[in-house]
Symmetry: C2
Subunit: 219 residues, 2 copies
């Protein structure tokens, strides 16, 4: 994709098989969580012998890392696409929720329980900050008209204005920094509890809770 336009049949076949392996991997993760992912089981499910997969992935770790990368990429694409079509913060929130409900285990692969000792490679971290960038853009244009009350920075906004490495050189106001973080933490709070089933049987509709947070994000 990046180098030459010509793709030999063999390369195409390789790419296809890699993709199918990943599909099966996602199925396994959906069924038993990430710890239950097994190369041998995937191979058997595809009608191949276990060692065959080593033609396509160096090992289990590389496969899992690739899945995490794909999950991040998919989320980044979702957010960027929504932003590109003119969505505001609430629109991004809806896109996020749809994406999360689509495949809870994919969500948890990014935001779930961390495996002690595991560190995502740098390129994955880069995608994560891409997502943050898109959020900052939307958060910046979400500000209401500049009133005196809006101009006075809250204690949190002051702190964020002074510790904004994560925002890089993005021209985001303190209020925008705050909005972007609230978007992230508040929506994640609801989504992760919902996807983990903690609201089950409580009676209310998580979507109402979610909408309510979206409504107040621009404040």
């Amino acid at each position: 994709m990046s180098t030459a336009g010509k793709e030999t049949p063999r390369e195409r076949y390789r790419a296809q098989l890699r993709a199918e392996i990943k599909e099966r991997a996602w199925e396994q993760i959906a069924a038993a969580g990430a710890p239950g992912l097994s190369l041998n089981a995937i191979a058997k499910h595809m009608g191949m012998s276990g060692p065959a997969l080593y033609r396509y992935f160096a090992g289990r770790d590389e496969l899992i890392t690739e899945l995490i990368r794909d999950a991040y990429r998919s989320l980044a694409d979702t957010v960027r696409t929504a932003a590109a079509s003119g969505a505001d913060l609430a629109g991004l929130g809806h896109a996020l929720r749809t994406w999360a409900l689509e495949d809870p285990q994919r969500y948890f692969l990014i935001y779930g329980t961390p495996v002690p000792g595991y560190h995502a490679p740098d390129d994955v971290t880069l995608i994560a900050s891409d997502i943050m960038d898109a959020l900052l853009v939307a958060a910046q244009s979400a500000g209401g008209p500049a009133t005196a009350a809006a101009a006075a920075k809250t204690p949190l906004e002051s702190h964020l204005a002074e510790h904004r490495q994560w925002a890089g050189d993005h021209p985001a106001s303190p209020a925008a920094l705050r909005r972007a973080l609230h978007f992230w933490t508040r929506l994640h709070g609801i989504l992760s509890l919902e996807l983990a089933g903690h609201f089950a049987g409580m009676g209310f509709d998580p979507a109402e809770l979610y909408e309510n947070e979206l409504r107040h994000l621009s404040q």
Copy 2:
């Protein structure tokens, strides 16, 4: 503890060993996450043979369930103790954060990635609703003076007022229901991202974010 006051030396010994097994289990979970928990490894670490542990737990599943139960109990105790000493919602929030930072993997055992197919036993669910109860009490007395603005229910509050199974017969106002849920989802959002390391290297202090949410909970 619950039945007779007399405890034979053997019973005491049993209780002690059960406790030590659980300690080692927590150490393992802290080191490699819940999926890495192994009865044989615990036994080896205690200088015993693997099968010996079957005198104390029916199997791996029972041990894990017991750990989850303990985690819930510990959290419930923390919240109740804070409430009993007169803490308001913000006070409960601080207690929660301290508890979470104390042992992140214990936090994730409750609120982390769910294992597909696993369902916590009923008594654990009961403890969870005990926690909710304590939250509701604090959320109820967190209301400001009853103004006209506070009396008008927001859309979310209306929805919650009509779907309040989870609150049981608790005399909580719609605003209190909302506050309790916000407490839960917003603080969990920050805590889980913080504990999972998603804020690492971003520069700001998660505690500031947390404090800010606490300040706004009574609104």
